[in-house]
C-alpha cells in the first residue's frame, strides 16, 4: 500500500526573482546589445519565472574582452588572495543555500530534497575545495611553475545548473583564469544569482562573466578568438561540434558529455541495497544525469527476485510538486526534453521491449514522465544504446562476469558504471575491465569535490573535480607545450 502524505511544500518566499535579468559583463548587469530577451519557465507549472537577455556575438565579444582585461591582475594575485575570494564565495553560497535551492527547484523542476541535500552542499564544497588549491598549485603535480591558461569559455547544461557552474568556475579561478560562462537556455537563473554572490564577495570585475542565451551564444563563445580554453558539459553531438570548432587553434578543450551507464548486479549482491542504488542511479534528478545508471545488467539467476523488489520500490516513488519535501521525482526540464524521452520510450515498445511503470498520477500542468522500466531489452535496441536522459531504465541480463563486462562496455559512451557484489575481488576485477571514468561499487551517484569525474570514449575527455580537475585549467608544464 502507498502511504498518504500531507503536502509539505518548501516556502517560495525565501527567494525573490526579478522580472528581468541582463547579462553580467565586467561586474555589471546590462541588456543584450540587440535588446533580445527570452523567458525562463518553471517546468513543473509552465509559469514564466523571469525574462533574461539573449547574448549576441557582440555581447560575447564584450564579455571576453572584460575577462581578458581582468586576467592581467587576477592571474598575478598571490594564490593565497585568490583563495580567500573563493572561500568567501563558498561561505556566501552556504549562507544563501536555501534560497538557491528553492530557486534551482523552480527553474529546473528537480525536487527540493535534491537541490537542498545534494546540489547546494556540493556547490559550496566545490568552491571550498578549489579555494584551497589556489595557493597550492605547485604541489598539485603539474610541474614546478603552474600557470593559468587565460580566459575560459564555459558552457554548461540544465540538469545541475549551479553545480555545473561550480565545477567550471571554481577550478578555473583557483588556477588564475578568468571566465565567461553560459548557463543553459532553460535554466539561466541560478547563474545570475551567482553573479550577485560574486558582487557580495567583492570579486574583481570581469573575473566572472555570465552570458545567458541559447545555443547560438554558446557557439559564438567557443568560436571566439579571444579565449584560451573551452570547457563544455552537455550532449555528445554538441561536444563533437565544439571539437571541430576549436580544431586548428591552441584552445585547450575538456568535454563532459553523454553516458549510458551500466549498473551491474551480481547474484551475491545485497538485494535491498542494490534496489536503492538502482533507483538512485536512474531516478535521481528524473534520470537527467549524464552518469545515470540507465542500463541495469542483472545476473540471470536473480532477475525475478530483483525486478519484483525493484517494481515494489518504484511503486512507492512520489512524483509531483518539486517544492514538496516528500517528492522523489520532479518535473522534466522542458517540453523538448519530454518529447525526446517520450519518443525513445516509444521506440522501446516498438522494438519489442516490455514496458512497465507504476500507477502514478501526473500533474496536469508542466512536463512529467512516470518512472519507467523496460525488460526484454537487447543490446541492439535504441533504449540500450542511446542516452534517454530521463527516468527510463533498460534491463538486460547476463550469466558470467565476463559477459557483464562485455555488455557494459558495448557502448559508444564510457562515463559511469555500478557494480553490486559482496565479493571484493570480483568487484575489483570487473572495475578493472570497465571502460568507464567513474565506477561505483555497492553505491551509485556519489559525488565529492575531491574525486575526479569524467568519461572514457565518447563521454568526453578531461576530468572535473579533485587534483586532476586542475589540469584542465593549467598551461602545459613543458616549455615546448605551445602549438607549432
Amino acid at each position: 500500500m502507498a502511504f498518504e502524505y500531507a503536502p509539505a511544500p518548501e516556502s517560495r518566499s525565501v527567494v525573490e526573482i526579478a522580472s528581468s535579468y541582463g547579462l553580467f559583463i565586467d561586474g555589471e548587469f546590462r541588456e543584450a546589445s540587440d535588446g533580445k530577451v527570452f523567458k525562463s519557465v518553471s517546468p513543473s507549472s509552465e509559469e514564466v519565472l523571469s525574462e533574461v537577455a539573449q547574448a549576441s556575438a557582440e555581447d560575447v565579444d564584450a564579455a571576453v574582452k572584460a575577462a581578458r582585461k581582468a586576467f592581467e591582475k587576477w592571474s598575478t594575485l598571490p594564490g593565497s588572495e585568490r583563495a580567500k575570494y573563493l572561500f568567501r564565495i563558498a561561505r556566501i553560497i552556504q549562507e544563501r543555500s536555501r534560497e538557491l535551492a528553492v530557486l534551482e527547484t523552480l527553474d529546473n523542476g528537480k525536487p527540493i530534497r535534491e537541490t537542498r541535500d545534494a546540489d547546494l552542499p556540493l556547490v559550496a564544497a566545490h568552491f571550498f575545495y578549489y579555494a584551497g588549491w589556489a595557493d597550492k598549485l605547485s604541489y598539485a603535480g603539474f610541474g614546478p611553475n603552474p600557470r593559468p591558461l587565460g580566459v575560459a569559455g564555459q558552457v554548461i547544461p540544465w540538469n545541475f545548473p549551479l553545480l555545473m557552474l561550480a565545477w567550471k568556475i571554481a577550478p578555473a579561478l583557483a588556477a588564475g583564469n578568468t571566465v565567461v560562462l553560459k548557463p543553459a537556455e532553460t535554466t539561466p537563473l541560478s547563474a545570475l544569482f551567482f553573479a550577485d554572490i560574486c558582487r557580495q564577495a567583492g570579486l574583481p570585475k570581469g573575473v566572472v562573466n555570465i552570458l545567458t542565451g541559447d545555443g547560438s551564444t554558446g557557439a559564438a563563445l567557443v568560436a571566439h578568438e579571444g579565449i584560451d580554453k573551452v570547457a563544455f558539459t552537455g550532449s555528445t553531438a554538441v561536444g563533437k561540434q565544439i571539437a571541430r570548432t576549436v580544431a586548428g587553434t591552441d584552445k585547450k578543450l575538456t568535454l563532459e558529455l553523454g553516458g549510458k551507464g551500466a549498473n551491474i548486479v551480481f547474484d551475491d549482491a545485497p538485494i535491498d541495497q542494490a534496489v536503492e542504488g538502482i533507483v538512485n542511479g536512474i531516478f535521481f534528478n528524473q534520470g537527467q544525469v549524464c552518469c545515470a545508471g540507465s542500463r541495469l545488467l542483472v545476473q540471470e539467476s536473480i532477475q525475478d527476485e530483483l525486478l519484483d523488489a525493484l517494481k515494489r520500490r518504484m511503486s512507492t516513488l512520489r512524483v509531483g510538486d518539486p517544492l514538496d519535501k516528500n517528492t522523489d521525482i520532479g518535473a522534466i526540464n522542458s517540453a523538448e526534453q519530454l518529447a525526446r524521452i517520450t519518443a525513445l520510450a516509444d521506440s522501446g515498445e516498438a522494438e519489442g521491449a516490455e514496458r512497465w511503470a507504476p500507477a502514478c498520477e501526473l500533474p496536469s500542468h508542466g512536463y512529467w514522465f512516470a518512472p519507467t522500466l523496460f525488460t526484454g531489452v537487447t543490446q541492439a535496441h535504441r533504449i540500450a544504446r542511446e542516452e534517454i536522459f530521463g527516468p527510463v531504465l533498460s534491463v538486460l541480463t547476463f550469466r558470467t562476469p565476463a559477459e557483464a563486462v562485455a555488455k557494459a562496455n558495448n557502448s559508444q559512451y564510457g562515463l559511469s558504471a555500478g557494480i553490486w557484489t559482496e565479493k571484493g575481488s570480483r568487484m575489483l576485477a570487473v572495475a578493472d575491465k570497465l571502460r568507464a571514468g567513474v565506477v561505483w561499487a555497492n553505491t551509485f551517484n556519489k559525488f565529492d569535490p575531491t574525486s575526479p569525474f569524467g568519461g572514457y570514449k565518447e563521454s568526453g575527455f578531461g576530468r572535473e573535480g579533485g587534483r586532476h580537475g586542475l589540469e584542465a585549467y593549467l598551461a602545459p608544464s613543458s616549455p615546448e607545450g605551445e602549438r607549432k
Binding site: 593565497s80 583563495a83 580567500k84 584551497g132 588549491w133 603535480g141 562496455n409 575481488s425 575489483l428 575531491t450
Partner: protein
C-alpha cells in the same frame, strides 16, 4: 558629571584544556611582562599534572577528530580564521606587547597568522592527494596508500614568535586529524592563551587543542616521556633540551620534529603537515575474469 579615567577590567588568563578554561591544578601563576619589563598579567604556571590531564583530553578528542571528514576539519580551521579576523585588534595589541613590536608589525604578524589558518584549512582534504595514492604493484592487487594522523602530538610552541609561530605549529598538526597538547612560549604566553578563546568559539571540538602556559622544560619532559603521546614538535626547545626530549621520546618511539630556524612569515611548505602522519597501505586481490575479457 566629572570625568574620571575609567579603570579597565583585566582578564584572568587561564589554560585551555578539553574545551574548558581551568586554572592550573597547582594553583600557581607566574608574572608575564612586556618587552620592557612592565607587568602584563599573571599566567598559570602549569604542572606535570596539568600536562597529563591535557594528554587525557587530547586522547579523548582524537577518535572523533581524526574520524571527522577532511572537509569538516577544513571548515572548522577556516572558521578559526573567521573568528580571528574579528579579534584582529585584540591580538595585534597582545602581540605588540608580547614581542615589543610596533602596532603595524604586530598587525602583520596577526594577518599572517589568520592567513595561515586559511592555508591549512585548504590542506585538510588535499594532503592525502599529494602523499597518498594507488601503487602499481606487479600482481593482481588493488593497492592504495593513505595518510592517517599519528595521534596525540605534544607541541613546544616557538619561544620568540608568540602568535604567528604558535599558529604555524598548531594548525598543521590538527589539520590532518591529530590532537595537540601545546606548551605556549614561556616568556610570552598570553596570545596563546587568548587563542584558546578563539578555538572555543570556532566549532573545534574540545580537547583537539589544549594550551598550557608555564616553564617549557618542566612540562616538556613529562610529555616527551608520556606513553600516550605519539609525537612531539620541538620547535620551542633549545638544543640541550631538545636532545633530552628526544631521548625521552625514544622510549615509545614518538615521531619527533626537531627544532630548526624557521621564517614563519614565509609559506610553510608541507614538512610540518606530513611529519605527524602514518602511511597505511591496503592490499586487496583483484581476482580474474578469466582469459580474454573485453576487447571493446
Amino acid at each position: 558629571m566629572s570625568t574620571v579615567d575609567r579603570l579597565s577590567v583585566l582578564k584572568t588568563y587561564k589554560l585551555f584544556v578539553g574545551g574548558k578554561f581551568p586554572r592550573s591544578e597547582s594553583g600557581r601563576v607566574y608574572e608575564v611582562t612586556d618587552s620592557k619589563g612592565n607587568w602584563l598579567a599573571n599566567a598559570p604556571l602549569s604542572s606535570r599534572k596539568d600536562a597529563r590531564d591535557a594528554v587525557v583530553a587530547a586522547r579523548k578528542a582524537f577518535g572523533a577528530w581524526s574520524g571527522a571528514t577532511a572537509y569538516n576539519r577544513g571548515q572548522i580551521l577556516y572558521r578559526v580564521a573567521e573568528m580571528l579576523e574579528g579579534r584582529r585588534d585584540q591580538f595585534t595589541a597582545e602581540v605588540a606587547d608580547a614581542e615589543g613590536l610596533s602596532k603595524a608589525k604586530a598587525a602583520a604578524q596577526v594577518d599572517a597568522a589568520i592567513d595561515r589558518w586559511v592555508w591549512y584549512a585548504g590542506w585538510t582534504d588535499k594532503v592525502a592527494q599529494i602523499v597518498g595514492g594507488a601503487n602499481p604493484v606487479a600482481g593482481p592487487f588493488f593497492n592504495v596508500s593513505s595518510p592517517e594522523p599519528t595521534g596525540v602530538v605534544a607541541v613546544l610552541a616557538p619561544q620568540e614568535s608568540s602568535f604567528l609561530g604558535l599558529v604555524s605549529v598548531i594548525a598543521p598538526v590538527i589539520a590532518t586529524g591529530n590532537t595537540a597538547v601545546v606548551i605556549a612560549s614561556e616568556r610570552a604566553p598570553l596570545p596563546a592563551l587568548s587563542l584558546g578563546e578563539v578555538l572555543a568559539t570556532s566549532d573545534l571540538p574540545g580537547g583537539v587543542v589544549n594550551l598550557l602556559s608555564g616553564r617549557t622544560a618542566e612540562l616538556a619532559v613529562p610529555l616527551a616521556a608520556h606513553q600516550d603521546v605519539n609525537a612531539v614538535d620541538l620547535a620551542g626547545a633549545d638544543a640541550e633540551l631538545a636532545r633530552e626530549l628526544e631521548i625521552g621520546a625514544a622510549d615509545n618511539l614518538k615521531r619527533v620534529f626537531r627544532p630548526r630556524s624557521v621564517d614563519f612569515s614565509a609559506e610553510p611548505g608541507t614538512d610540518r603537515l606530513t611529519a605527524f602522519l602514518e602511511t597505511k597501505t591496503v592490499w586487496h586481490p583483484t581476482g580474474s575474469l578469466g582469459a580474454g575479457g573485453s576487447s571493446y
